[in-house]
Symmetry: C2
Subunit: 324 residues, 2 copies
């Protein structure tokens, strides 16, 4: 057992479905991890209590096992003013989770310094520090799930914008006057390239072709299985449509950012090479000659651990720059 001098952190990833959290070191070594339902529908205080409880569980484990827990990092959906760890405004998948001084509230519950940032930012940081982005300075990270999240690493650091409200890559317009988006606009990348879009496409195609599905709940995993095992052409078309639009978006990001690497994460990306290769093909076809020349386009490598690993890295980086 360690002698209590090994400094560890607690990384927390608050998602619409679950809270994933872990105890780990500055170099990204995970000592213990766990998850629990995020209860996205409950009131703010209960979400905070649930988060506090998860963090205290890890803190307790750390102390009992000879580690010294020094800080907590946490990612949440929504725009976060990072100096105060303040969630500005609302976030679509949580009913009451808005305008919360998350860091202050959690600090009271766990008696540790708490640093909060946007979840997609921390996923990008996780991949940059410990995953597919290691060794690169300019990274664009997109996370394909219910929505399309984005993270921007410039000169090795997260770029958040003037007031921490940037990197909303899923809300780039790619089809002006197109489908309505949750953000209030229309034609956003998210409406065409998210998991939600893939499921919508598939369902619509099935209705159109009078195909009767053997289940009520369709998810991305099912669509990929249908394509791989049953050679389902409608599944293939819906995958291809989403891959195509993501490629169109990524081509724009190449022209805008000329990054070293683009990392694609989230549930859809985990479906494997079929999807990534289709995205890559469209991206490289539409990006301009010079910026596309040396760009790498790869799948994320940390899976659903990217969020809490990024949160962990963020907590340690803030401790390094915060005078105690």
């Amino acid at each position: 057992m360690p002698d209590g001098n090994i400094k560890v952190g607690i990384g927390v990833d608050l998602g619409g479905t679950s809270i994933k959290y872990a105890l780990g070191t500055n170099s990204g070594e995970i000592i213990k991890e766990d998850h629990r339902p995020s209860q996205a529908h409950v009131e703010i205080a209960k979400i905070l209590d649930n988060l506090g409880d998860a963090i205290n569980q890890m803190k307790e484990f750390a102390r009992l096992n000879g580690y010294d827990p020094i800080a907590v990092g946490m990612g949440t959906p929504g725009s976060v003013e990072i100096e105060r760890g303040y969630l500005m405004g609302s976030t679509p998948n949580f009913r009451y989770w808005r305008d919360v001084y998350v860091a202050d509230e959690l600090r009271e519950r766990v008696d540790l310094p708490v640093f909060v940032d946007n979840d997609a930012n921390l996923m990008a940081l996780g991949e940059a520090k410990f995953g597919s982005g290691v060794g690169y300075q300019n990274i664009i990270c997109v996370t394909i799930g219910t929505g399309v999240g984005g993270g921007i690493i410039i000169n090795g650091e997260l770029y958040r914008g003037a007031y921490c409200a940037g990197a909303e890559l899923g809300h780039s317009t790619i089809v002006a006057n197109g489908l309505t988006c949750n953000c209030g606009g229309d034609g956003c990348l998210e409406v065409y390239a998210s998991a939600t879009a893939m499921i919508r496409n598939y369902k619509n195609l099935c209705i159109e072709k009078n195909v009767i599905l053997d289940r009520k709940t369709i998810d991305v995993k099912y669509i990929f299985e249908r394509y791989k095992k049953n050679n389902d052409q409608l599944a293939m078309i819906s995958i291809e449509q989403c891959a195509y639009y993501l490629g169109r978006g990524l081509a724009s990001f190449i022209n805008i950012f000329n990054p070293n690497i683009i990392i694609i994460g989230g549930g859809v990306a985990e479906a494997g090479d079929i999807y990534i290769n289709k995205v890559k093909e469209t991206t490289l076809h539409y990006a301009m000659d010079t910026p596309r020349e040396k760009v790498k386009i790869v799948a994320a490598s940390l899976g659903n651990k990217a969020g809490f690993l990024g949160a962990l890295a963020y907590a340690f980086s803030r401790m390094d720059s915060t005078p105690n």
Copy 2:
């Protein structure tokens, strides 16, 4: 007359029609300026000779008038590898101007240090240092002319991308599967929001409505005049269409960058408030709540001097960081 100890620089802006150039100080004070045709159709050596001649004209003037010319900054269309001042690949409006070691070639002709960057980058830098962007750290600059150029200032510095090929804001897709663009793709912001687009829209509308124009050459100035003086509805529609699409693009840039300010330059922007206000309206309508909250959207204030003023600022900044 100064005593020869006042250090000055020469800023050059190579455009498709003309070369604009000036002698000036580190604080952006212009001592003398001039312009000449850029002869975009001639071979590389002749363009370089013409540029060298323009620079030497300013150098000579400086010496005769008691100034000490220490460096040259220059903006050119195309992607520029800034360390060596190398134009990578081609640029659409110059027939032969491609793969040129611009800085080296000019240094031989003018016997001064020469620093070269992309023209839209230097326009953005000019506005950031001496124009509408003074005092802001995160700036998006778009230049509406034959195409749509872009410049990105992050934390007070130009962001060029991993290999100096980024900031191509005009080549963000806003209408996937839309009109063909010169870049080889389709649906780019440039095809919908440039001066070229406005002229195309106006001509098409005139044909459609059987309106016979009183001249063969239509430019943006003419369209704005027709709208202001003659209350020409077709002129208004074509202005509104371009303003709308620019607004859609800028809304995306707000979601992506969360900048302090967006600066709109180029010939179209100079037409005045009518246009800027229409752009602003669409931008703020489509941008997300949090990042749009504090953003300013303004016209550029340096007109066609932004390019050479930015080049001047760039030359001085490189001299400061280059050991002699």
